[in-house]
């Protein structure tokens, strides 16, 4: 597709405005405006409007009703089992964790007062004093011990079992102090403890019909697959907030229904709305959008160990065949950033900026396919609605393939059981990865030789060695240069093509204040309930 965008900028100034709202630095914004041919003068006015957004004072009281996109009978109040956005929102409201990531991705202390180490292998955690659970019990290191150890017990079925494995020894020092020893030095432990699954629950809790946490809200009603309601926790240990009296979280799976519910005022926050609805929301001044580049992406995985991935040149050919610009503009209406086939997104401070994304070069791809002897053979690509927009991405690749004589057959399969039946198994298929706070977690989960989710079965001892070396390195510059090189290796050698980092777009009523983007995901890292307020 060589058509240059003719009428794109005129209608998508909303995207520019979002860039500003995201606190994009002036330099990034100007670079973007230049690329799309908007004159500097026109750009000026946009900058002015953005300024007014920040200076607002919080207001207490009111009931906020928010809607996510999926919930089912599998909803849970057990942080370890949390799997969907609905679970994360609920758990973040009712529980707290040791640390939290702020807007810029920096680690802030929460239940922990301080976390220190000298060799990144043994860590001492000191808890904040005077924090009580909803049932009045005061927080002690026994609770933290229980909360962390339970991830290793298979009966719990914890989602972060593979990450928690590295904490070989967790011992209690006294009521407010404990020591964590890792099997290998890892400087990112504070960031890891900020994951939603590591929320702290009371010692010995097994029944999760009700939630007994230290969080900003007390669980009033919890109906799995229907709704959850939280009431303000009167003796919340934090000085500031929560501002809302109560909040209710439901799930509306149909995109349009969710946007319509927001527009008709039934809900005040609609999570993850479809990029195409942004224009609708922007045109209505009673609602506004909040865009977060959170590092979530849908990637095309080609297993290197079986046909056709094992044919030399096929993977590289595919990486040239993917029209990243078309995906970014037509599919996500600009609400995504072009990616360079590696998982660490620009929102992460270790992102390698000078690793250029492969530009769309069908001729070169054709030569590579010809060399691999695959021109004209029928190659199925498995896609599903379980992986965001993967079906449309597959169609775009199929269309580009058709122009160069490649015969791709898109197989749309039901999202029901996609992750257990097709993901990691089909020769060419789509996956979807949620944001992770640190490159170490991403690489150990996805690209290490023994990684549980090694989508393209990429094996490289050099990569594994660099991974553990970086993990222990305390010197920032050394760490950054290793991660930059690792990103280059993944981009060139791994069988995963990552076209774009999808921005998460939440829509909310203009009466809602205090919602700030967060690297842990949409809706302010799912912890919006504690920080937002309702202007009446």
């Amino acid at each position: 597709m060589t058509k240059t965008p003719t009428n794109w900028t005129g209608r998508d100034d909303a995207m520019v405005e979002d860039m500003i709202r995201r606190g994009a630095t002036r330099r990034q914004l100007l670079k973007m405006l230049m690329a799309s041919g908007v004159g500097v003068a026109a750009g000026g006015s946009l900058l002015m409007r953005a300024g007014a957004a920040h200076a607002e004072t919080p207001v207490s009281g009111g009931h906020l009703r928010a809607a996510g996109w999926s919930s089912s009978t599998a909803d849970t109040l057990d942080p370890a089992k949390a799997s969907l956005s609905t679970d994360y929102v609920r758990c973040c409201a009712f529980y707290n964790r040791l640390t939290f990531l702020d807007e810029a991705g920096e680690v802030q202390m929460e239940l922990a007062e301080k976390i220190e180490t000298d060799d990144a292998k043994t860590w001492n955690v000191t808890l904040r004093s005077g924090v009580t659970f909803h049932d009045g019990k005061t927080l002690t290191s026994d609770d933290v011990l229980y909360s962390l150890n339970r991830h290793l017990d298979p009966a719990v079925g914890s989602k972060v079992n593979s990450i928690a494995k590295q904490m070989t020894e967790i011992t209690k020092v006294d009521d407010l102090n404990l020591r964590i020893v890792l099997d290998q030095a890892n400087a990112d432990l504070p960031a890891i403890l900020a994951l939603h699954h590591f929320l702290i629950i009371a010692d010995g809790t097994t029944d999760f019909a009700k939630a007994n946490g230290t969080g900003a809200f007390i669980c009033e009603t919890f109906e799995p697959g229907v709704r959850s309601v939280g009431k303000k926790n009167p003796d919340y240990w934090k000085a500031e907030g929560p501002y809302l009296d109560s909040f209710e979280f439901i799930a509306i799976s149909d995109d349009n229904a969710r946007v319509n519910a927001l527009l008709s005022g039934d809900i005040q926050l609609a999570a993850a709305i479809n990029p195409r609805s942004v224009r609708l929301v922007e045109s209505n001044n009673s609602v506004k959008t909040s865009v977060t580049t959170s590092g979530n992406y849908s990637n095309l995985n080609m297993r290197l160990d079986i046909d056709p991935g094992d044919k030399a040149g096929f993977v590289e050919g595919m990486k040239y065949l993917i029209n990243r610009e078309a995906i970014q503009k037509s599919l996500f209406r600009g609400l995504a950033e072009v990616a360079n086939d590696q998982p660490v997104s620009p929102a992460d401070r270790y992102h390698n900026p000078n690793l250029k994304a492969r530009e769309f070069d069908p001729e070169r791809a054709k030569a590579l396919f010809d060399k691999a002897g695959l021109l004209g053979t029928e190659i199925p690509i498995v896609a599903s609605d379980a992986a965001t927009s993967s079906v449309d991405m597959a169609t775009i690749v199929q269309q580009a393939g058709r122009d160069v004589g490649m015969n791709f057959k898109v197989e749309r399969v039901p999202s029901d059981g996609y992750w257990s039946n097709y993901w990691l198994k089909a020769p060419v298929h789509f996956g979807n990865i949620n944001p992770r706070p640190t490159p170490d977690i991403l690489f150990s989960l996805l690209y290490a030789s023994d990684a549980p989710w090694n989508e393209s079965h990429y094996k490289s001892d050099k990569f594994d060695a660099m991974l553990s070396e970086a993990r222990g390195a305390l010197d920032e510059d050394k760490r950054t240069s290793i991660y930059w090189e690792m990103q280059e290796m993944v981009a060139n050698e791994a069988g995963t093509a990552i076209p774009v980092y999808i921005s998460n777009v939440d829509a909310l009523s203009s009466k809602v204040g205090g919602l700030k983007p967060n690297p842990l995901g949409g809706m302010m890292g799912y912890a919006f309930a504690e920080y937002v307020w309702l202007k009446d």
Partner: protein
């Protein structure tokens, strides 16, 4: 009025057959679910479904027992009213289904109250003034309503009434149903969309049934006794058309319990249909079986009711 001996035999026979059908459906649903790949443990763990994690969770949830034995256990439990425990969140299935069934029945009930009278009037009117402009309009309307996809009717209803006009709430559940008017407002939207689909079918069948009875000698006799057109249709044609009409209503209403998944998703209405979708997605055997039983029971009872109505409305059969 006391059912005559032979009619009560028929009802008993019909109940026995219904039970047999229930068992057949239960086994069929079991084998169908067995065919689906993956099991509860794999689905719950989702992307984190590493082999050991799956084995551990399966062991913890007691899923190692062969599926067929667990199914028989559930069936035995059902005999004395125990619907079993849901695998996914080990809450008793009865609680999970409990209020959702109430929601579904409430929605189905309100829709029936709205759609049955409307379709009867339109159906009978169209039959009474057959060939007139009114009849032609009703026929074309019913055909076009049937042809519009259901999710479009629902989305359009939300757009017009909730977003543009703002009269009605977009979400019907959760809105405060304290006052009667609030309840009406809350249910208006799903009921409108559902009634569209259900009315179309019922009008067509009612019109056909009444037209059949209008062409009978006893209706002509009523005309020859000086009766006006309305009296002819209402007192003479309609009572004899009740049998087929009851059948039509039963068929359309059976759709209301199981087939409303689209309306439930768009209006975020937690009914049994959506529960069934979740149950199938998570391979939650006891939940799937319970939902399938509910659909089957409602379908069979509606059909039996319709047959009974047909018998009662015809004195020759009633004896």
């Amino acid at each position: 009025m006391l059912l005559s001996y032979s009619t009560s035999i028929l009802v008993l026979q019909r109940l026995a057959i219904a039970l047999l059908t229930l068992v057949i459906v239960s086994f069929a649903v079991f084998f169908a679910t067995e065919l689906l790949p993956g099991d509860v443990a794999q689905i719950l763990l989702g992307q984190a479904a590493t082999p050991e994690a799956v084995a551990g969770l399966r062991e913890a949830m007691g899923l190692n027992q062969p599926a067929f034995l667990r199914f028989l256990g559930w069936l035995a439990g059902l005999l004395h009213g125990d619907f079993g425990i849901s695998y996914v969140n080990n809450m008793p299935v009865a609680d999970l289904i409990g209020d959702r069934l109430v929601n579904s029945l409430r929605l189905a009930g309100v829709t029936t109250l709205v759609s049955v009278p409307v379709s009867l009037c339109l159906g009978i009117g169209a039959a009474m003034w057959r060939g007139s402009l009114f009849d032609r309009i009703v026929t074309v309307l019913t055909i076009s309503v049937i042809s519009v996809p259901e999710f479009m009717v629902a989305t359009l209803a939300v757009l017009i009434f909730a977003v543009w006009l703002g009269w009605l709430p977009a979400l019907s559940y959760g809105a405060d149903v304290s006052s009667f008017s609030a309840m009406l407002k809350a249910y208006a939207m799903p009921v409108i969309s559902l009634s569209f689909v259900v009315c179309a079918q019922m009008i067509r069948m009612t019109r056909a049934a009444v037209i059949d009875t209008i062409n009978t000698p006893y209706v002509e006799m009523a005309l020859l006794k000086g009766a006006r057109r309305s009296r002819m249709v209402l007192r003479h044609a309609l009572p004899n058309a009740l049998g087929p009409i009851a059948n039509a209503i039963a068929l359309s209403l059976s759709y209301l319990v199981g087939g409303v998944i689209i309306v439930e998703t768009i209006f975020n209405y937690p009914g049994v249909a959506k529960l069934m979708v979740d149950a199938v997605a998570t391979r939650d055997l006891p939940l799937i079986q319970s939902c399938a039983m509910i659909f089957c029971v409602s379908y069979l009872s509606l059909i039996t009711l319709a047959d009974l109505m047909a018998i009662l409305s015809n004195p020759r059969l009633r004896k």
